[in-house]
């Protein structure tokens, strides 16, 4: 039995599509219900539906063998996992954003206050990459508000189209990381269930390659 942790929503749908294209019967995973564990004895697949931020935890502890989760969550949670495939979809960027007037002047502000839903990514970026101490203000949503009303100078958040930023007079100042959906595998499962997991990963990689080729052509 292989247990796959998914986060409900678009990401899960796409992951199931890929698995199906790779030749796996994912009927169980598509079942419309409030059940959190969807199991199919026949196919030996079990899907668990978890909050995105919890997917790496389920996989690290071996409660799930495989997980599909955004790179943003992986960076924020910092779990000890195999991160084996970039599924390519859900692509966006983790960015430092603020008023456009701060462009190229970010380093000149001392003791910055940074609003974010991602305190760990923010800390790693400013302290690790930029060698700078900042004050991190943890927020839970509408992060764009923080620089507008003076709670923080800048924010670190996910940027897809950039529309929300533009509408609020903000701009991307620096790119922290590229984000997309990833397949992660528990370190023990990879060894103990190698004969099931490795072929599944190979088949998924093949599908991703096909999708990427289609994208290029299209």
């Amino acid at each position: 039995m292989i247990t796959i942790a998914l986060s409900k929503g678009r990401l899960a749908e796409k992951a199931l599509d890929l698995l199906e294209a790779a030749g796996y019967d994912v009927t169980a995973g598509r079942e419309e219900s409030r059940k959190l564990i969807l199991q199919d004895e026949k196919t030996g697949l079990r899907f668990i539906m978890a909050k995105p931020a919890d997917v790496p935890t389920y996989v690290e502890y071996g409660a799930a063998d495989i997980g599909v989760v955004g790179k943003d969550t992986l960076l924020e949670e910092g779990r000890n996992l195999y991160e084996v495939i970039d599924l390519g979809y859900g692509a966006c960027r983790m960015c430092v954003c603020g008023p456009a007037s701060l462009k190229d002047k970010l380093d000149q502000i001392p003791n910055k206050r940074v609003g974010t839903k991602y305190p760990n990514i923010t800390r790693a970026y400013f302290e690790g990459t930029k060698k700078e101490s900042v004050e991190i203000i943890k927020l839970h949503g509408s992060v764009e508000l923080a620089p507008l009303i003076g709670l923080a100078e800048v924010i670190v958040d996910i940027v897809e189209s950039g529309r929300t930023l533009k509408e609020n007079g903000l701009d991307v100042l620096e790119v922290v990381a590229d984000i997309s959906a990833r397949v992660v595998v528990n370190r023990v499962s990879m060894k103990m269930k190698e004969s099931e997991i490795v072929p599944m990963l190979d088949a998924l990689r093949k599908q991703v390659a096909i999708k990427n080729a289609e994208k290029k052509e299209g």
């Binding site: 996989v59 502890y61 996992l81 084996v84 023990v188 499962s189 990879m190 060894k191 103990m192």
Partner: protein, 402 residues
């Protein structure tokens, strides 16, 4: 005040009779195994000066339980077994001629901030073989690691063996900077093929190098893997690493333990700690390795003695979890027999003698202290699931029982 009085702190647990008894037995069996292989047990203190761990940068500051002594010096609770043994080998045991074979079974304390749910106090058993830098020593330690897991009753065991020097040789050959080496090794250790490819592109590595990186991440096996790499790798360091692994496999074959092991050259954690062979052990139903170790030739030099070293540690609590989840916990009997006695001259003395005789046969025996009658004693034994009841009342019966 007092709101926490019913609770144990995060990450520490009470272990109840059944698990405590199994745990103690595991530890005893493992101690005997170590000792039967010539490894002498040492006890190091539960607290060390923080400097013991910090001077070699062995442990992240935030992962240690720290406090101050009365002079303001920082004390750290024992984080692992290896570093204290390394300190010991370079100080109190500095005149002991190598090779030294030492072992420990102790509680470790780790204050991991991230994660949660992981134990912060847990028991580890381990050995260190000091002063021998060859494949014979590497293989002895791996073999003892496998045997110690098998001793616990776990039969599904998979050991992955890697070699840090193999990767180091490639890094030298390709002329990669320390920073890029760190990034590349992390990507390989996470089997993050996309990132490996990106790094390889950025560094302008050759197609041959890229193929090797791909093989490192994907090829597991035994001799076949070594053959495949030997055909492709030219630098001395990497070839010596492969030769070391080949010898280790040869020796493990003679131990008749080859069926448990597989080579995984992509295991690249703790590069600044390990200097050669590394290995990890896995079983079903626990998401973490139950066994880990390797060669760490530079650790003891932190304490001023040049001494090569190889060792492993075994997570006793993880093994308990695995045994429980694999339905392999042995049945636990609190009490096998109860001995009661009637009022009267010499009856109690006879009961004690009876209990003693029964205990000598290996049974767990209690003598009734509630002063129950024979009927009450039967009922009590029934209720508590005690198999044998002995009631001492008459001279003749007493003799029958003893």
């Amino acid at each position: 005040m007092g709101n926490y009085r019913f609770h144990t702190p995060d990450g520490v647990i009470d272990i109840l009779p059944q698990e405590a008894s199994v745990k103690r037995k595991l530890e005893t069996d493992i101690r005997e195994l170590f000792s039967s292989h010539g490894y002498s047990e040492v006890e190091t203190p539960g607290i060390e000066y923080y400097d013991v761990y910090s001077s070699g940068d062995f442990v992240a500051t935030e992962d240690m339980f720290k406090m101050q002594d009365k002079d303001g010096r920082i004390i750290a609770m024992r984080y692992d077994g290896t570093v204290p043994v390394a300190r010991l080998a370079a100080t109190l045991l500095k005149d002991e001629k190598p090779p030294l074979r030492l072992s420990y079974v102790e509680n470790m304390y780790r204050f991991k901030l991230s994660g949660g749910g992981k134990l912060r106090e847990f028991s580890q058993a381990g050995v260190e073989l000091l002063g021998l830098d060859n494949a014979e020593a590497d293989a002895e330690v791996i073999a003892l690691g496998i045997q110690s897991v098998l001793t616990t009753g776990i039969t599904d065991l998979q050991i992955s063996i890697g070699q840090i020097e193999f990767f180091r040789g490639l890094v030298e050959e390709w002329g990669i900077s320390a920073e890029d080496e760190a990034e590349l090794s992390t990507a390989i250790d996470q089997k993050d093929l996309v990132r490996i490819e990106k790094i390889a592109e950025r560094l302008g590595l050759s197609d041959e190098a890229k193929e090797l990186l791909d093989m490192i991440s994907n090829r597991f096996g035994t001799y076949d893997v070594l053959d495949a790499f030997e055909a492709k790798v030219k630098n001395e360091t990497s070839r010596a690493a492969l030769q070391n692994l080949r010898e280790i496999l040869d020796i493990l074959k003679d131990y008749e333990l080859l069926q448990y092991v597989s080579i995984d050259l992509g295991m690249l954690r703790s590069l600044d700690y390990y200097t050669g062979m590394i290995f990890k052990g896995f079983t079903y139903e626990v998401g973490f390795p139950i066994l880990g170790g390797g060669r760490y030739n530079k650790v003891i030099s932190t304490f001023g003695r040049e001494l090569s070293a190889v060792g492993f540690s075994l997570g006793i609590n993880l093994i308990l979890t695995a045994l429980r989840r694999q339905d392999k916990l042995p049945e636990f009997v609190e009490v096998d027999a109860i001995v009661g006695y009637k009022d009267g001259e010499g009856m109690r003395q006879a009961a004690f003698a009876t209990a003693k005789a029964l205990r000598e046969t290996g049974l767990k025996v209690i003598v009734d202290t509630q002063r129950l009658s024979e009927e009450e004693l039967d009922a009590y034994a029934e209720e508590r699931g005690i198999d044998q009841v002995v009631f001492v009342e008459e001279e003749e019966e007493q003799e029958e029982n003893t």
